[in-house]
Subunit: 314 residues, 4 copies
């Protein structure tokens, strides 16, 4: 089970569940795994930014990834291995691949500016992890402050056969997907999988621009699965109708910093994790915010309740 | 007619209409003015970022502001006077106040980092324009890369009696509004008007956090007016129902860079401006983007058509 | 007298002299002009960052440039026309060329990140000012936060025949000069003039890497002229001996922010400008700083006095 | 042996020596240790930015710190524990303190902007490592892009009794030292040790502004020791004479990125480390650069040879 460029569908970005006193909550990982499977996810991505990866110690990271891999039992798991240095990146990549990961995801370090710096960085990363581990480019300028043009992405893809996927999280980014698919059509770039992030805020149209699916952490992964399915089936209006019903909450989750607190709160309310605790530093959802989320959940339930149950069965 | 801290309602951020060959289109300014009045706007804000202010020559800026001021005939007009230097800021501020502007808006220069640098900058700005011109703090970290805490805003407000309003455009920013209102309640900050931006993406909840209204450029200003009105009347569910109907388009407009192209295109489709031309440099809405906007407009019309007509009467 | 790629020698970056109450001091411009001529400068550059250009009104900018052009009477004057928008850039460029400027200098706007954004920006700038005005790329990442690789500079040079010079102010930047000269040797880039900045901090070695000279504001332009002359004459050790004698002061001037205050103070002490006043906002050299500069000047005079007189003859 | 606010003198920032094939070279650590002792260093700082800390695995970091601690045998060793997350920071801090470190050094994460974010970050860091480990604030805006005003530093110092030192590396920064010493005099801040960085580029004047010494990586630590000694003895002119003789090389080392390559090359030439190899990614000193450094070393030796021998005795 190794990731390749045919990957499609929905890879939820998994949060790392913690107990109130800051320990990793492996029981909640099991609940998340069950929910992802039930939602129809194709795989999952762990230890990303949303997974609070930099707050973990190396052994914790390996244990968390392993728990997800074992739980998803055959579904591909992508593990974020971004690190300030290549030594730590290599160690983690080798460790999780040995545990059965399908591939790894690599974000650029925030100091990169020029096109050459970016391609040079990925050259170093591949040299570090080796050329036989399938990997994903994480393109997230809003948080990482690194801007990759389609041409730079193409250079990276062409240089590294083991690069099989783009996690697309530019904003705005619809034309970037189109440009990359254009490169594939004109033969200047081999095919890659493109899964989109940004909390799903543009998923409705990203699918129409030929994304292969979503890789993001919206707390109703079944919505992501369904929008992807409807769009692939050509049922455009239905896809938008469903998407629009979720958009008020989805928009609320898509806030820098506090967004993770919102998501963990919703996941907790849904029964998918036991606590919405984060390790420090972390933004906190205060009482006013919780009430707003409760209101949005109530409205969503009123509108779509049967199809999108707040609570998962135990 | 001078701006004060009681300002409330909706001040649309006006685009600057251009002809296809790059001249200022004064006829379209008149159409915008008519639409703003008809929509129930309280005033308007011109020469902001959305108004392509840095692309204008000084005489053009004054002429545009004057045209809006004369057209709005008694409704307060706020003029953006942000500039890389204080000499240009002072000139423009004095010129437009002489023409009847109600106040000016000042964004920080992007290089500011520390709290002291920010308060020092506004001290210099007020020294430049004089203490008798009412002015608005523009707080827009996503674009300006300057982060102002509530405490810094309070310092500025307390130091400068002529500062009467905050254009709130932090993201996420709901708790910032709450913190500032808390300062007013505990007596540590005098009252100011808070109008919110971000394309309206959180207007539904911003009003519940005690914003006074909106100052943003969504191409259906009547929606902003109505949401503000419903929330102030305590009709929460109705406000959200209406807001949610617009959210798919509103979300699409709220894209960095290409957002202005989307808005000008919608305004053109609605008959409010003759052309969606921008001066260079400017992002262009390509065919795929236009089709997406058309689709969103069609869905909006299908849902709310009578109340939110695509086309304004001539 | 139009700038071309053969330009060499020293173009001092001129400060803009102000009176204590903030008016432009044209008399001090005349003194600077006399000093530049006497020092053996090849030309001069005005309205750069050091010239406090963003703090000037358009008419002031034109008047200052004109005064320098007339005073230098036949020596080429390069005028900084960097602006947040192309309309202001075009106006100023046309105005100063009509007054006899030899060319203009254009810095990128600070928001540019990718290689394509940078080349796109210069495309827009040349479209704005026209293809017949000789111009200079200003490459100053430390202050402008835009990083241009040698390849990007080559693209710009090859695309625009009117681009004739690079103001090289990357830090570190010795290998960048070498890379560009390599492009010339391998035929992939036509020849350009390269003048170096950074206050002259690496001028000793920049000349050995085949720079054509210096364009910077060190308050002893005769030192720059002499180092350039000695290096071109192959008198390496003498060039370094002289350079090293100035290095303590030169290093002190080369401080971000306060550097301009240091330079204006030295120029005032030397009798080249009447006041070291800056327009706001500007860093101030306090008493401790002035004493340190006095100490460095005294040491320099003790070492090189006859050759590098503190005071210019009236 | 725990660090306190009386620390003074010179703490060289140690590079991490690697073999050509990228392994940690413990033998060269021993040579560095001997050279530091012989140079009269007061202590040493390891695993800083110059120590390529982010490129190390946790066990390597602990082993390197331990080797320095054991070798310096009683001289205080400060260990950099900066990390993207607090868990890794805590682990490393506890591990090296158990091995005998005198204290730790903590840099802010690059994303911090507002004063509150900075003080909040250090609150989290102290909570993570505990209140009983003496620690150093690393203030290095040029590389870390975090700007701390003197007031922010005072807040941190006052809040955390275990904060005993500032590594001062702002640029320009002379007035920052003066401001902090002013806080001590007016009683608003308890005394702290201030050691300065920036490669020593302003050490001559930093000592006159009442710094306690230097913490930087110039490849002749004996020069740092001697300048500090002379300034403390009030022998100002001698201090400057000596400093100025080193300034051409010191300036050459003080280049962002390539500076570490220069230093490792000089240390290798001096026989203090076996190889100038860096782990990737790292800037390389090419042939032209090596020749320039050789030239500067030859000039330095010609001038000061007996006092500042190129080669250390074996």
């Amino acid at each position: 089970m190794r990731l390749d460029h045919n990957a499609a569908g929905v890879f939820p970005i998994a949060p790392t569940p913690f107990t109130e006193d800051g320990r990793v909550d492996h029981g909640s990982i099991d609940r998340l795994v069950a929910a992802y499977r039930e939602a129809g996810a194709t795989g999952a991505t762990v230890l990303g930014i949303m997974g609070e990866a930099p707050k973990l110690e190396p052994e914790e990271s390996i244990a968390i990834a392993t728990r997800f891999i074992e739980g998803l039992d055959g579904l591909p798991v992508i593990v974020g291995v971004s690190a300030p240095g290549f030594a730590a990146m290599r160690s983690l990549a080798h460790a999780v691949m040995a545990k059965g990961a399908a591939g790894v995801m690599i974000a650029p370090v925030p100091s990169l500016r020029t096109d050459d710096q970016i391609t040079g960085y990925y050259r170093g990363a591949v040299e570090a992890i080796g050329t036989d581990i399938p990997w994903v480019i994480q393109d997230y300028p809003l948080t990482l402050s690194v801007q990759m043009t389609p041409k730079v992405i193409r250079s990276i893809v062409e240089e590294h056969p083991s690069c099989v996927m783009l996690k697309h999280e530019d904003w705005p980014g619809l034309d970037k997907i189109a440009a990359l698919r254009g490169f594939q059509r004109d033969g200047s770039m081999r095919p890659i999988s493109i899964l989109t992030g940004n909390g799903g805020l543009f998923l409705d149209f990203e699918m129409e621009r030929c994304a292969d699916g979503a890789m993001t952490g919206y707390a109703f992964p079944e919505l992501l699965v369904e929008v992807v399915r409807l769009q692939k089936a050509g049922r455009r209006d239905e896809a938008h109708d469903l998407f629009d019903a979720h958009l008020p909450l989805l928009r609320y989750e898509q806030q820098q910093g506090v967004g993770l607190a919102v998501r963990k709160y919703v996941l907790m309310q849904r029964g998918l994790i036991a606590s919405d605790a984060q390790r420090k530093p972390g933004a906190v959802l205060n009482a006013a915010g919780r009430q707003e989320v409760d209101y949005l959940l109530a409205r969503l339930e009123a509108r779509l309740g049967a199809a999108y149950p707040m609570k998962r069965a135990a």
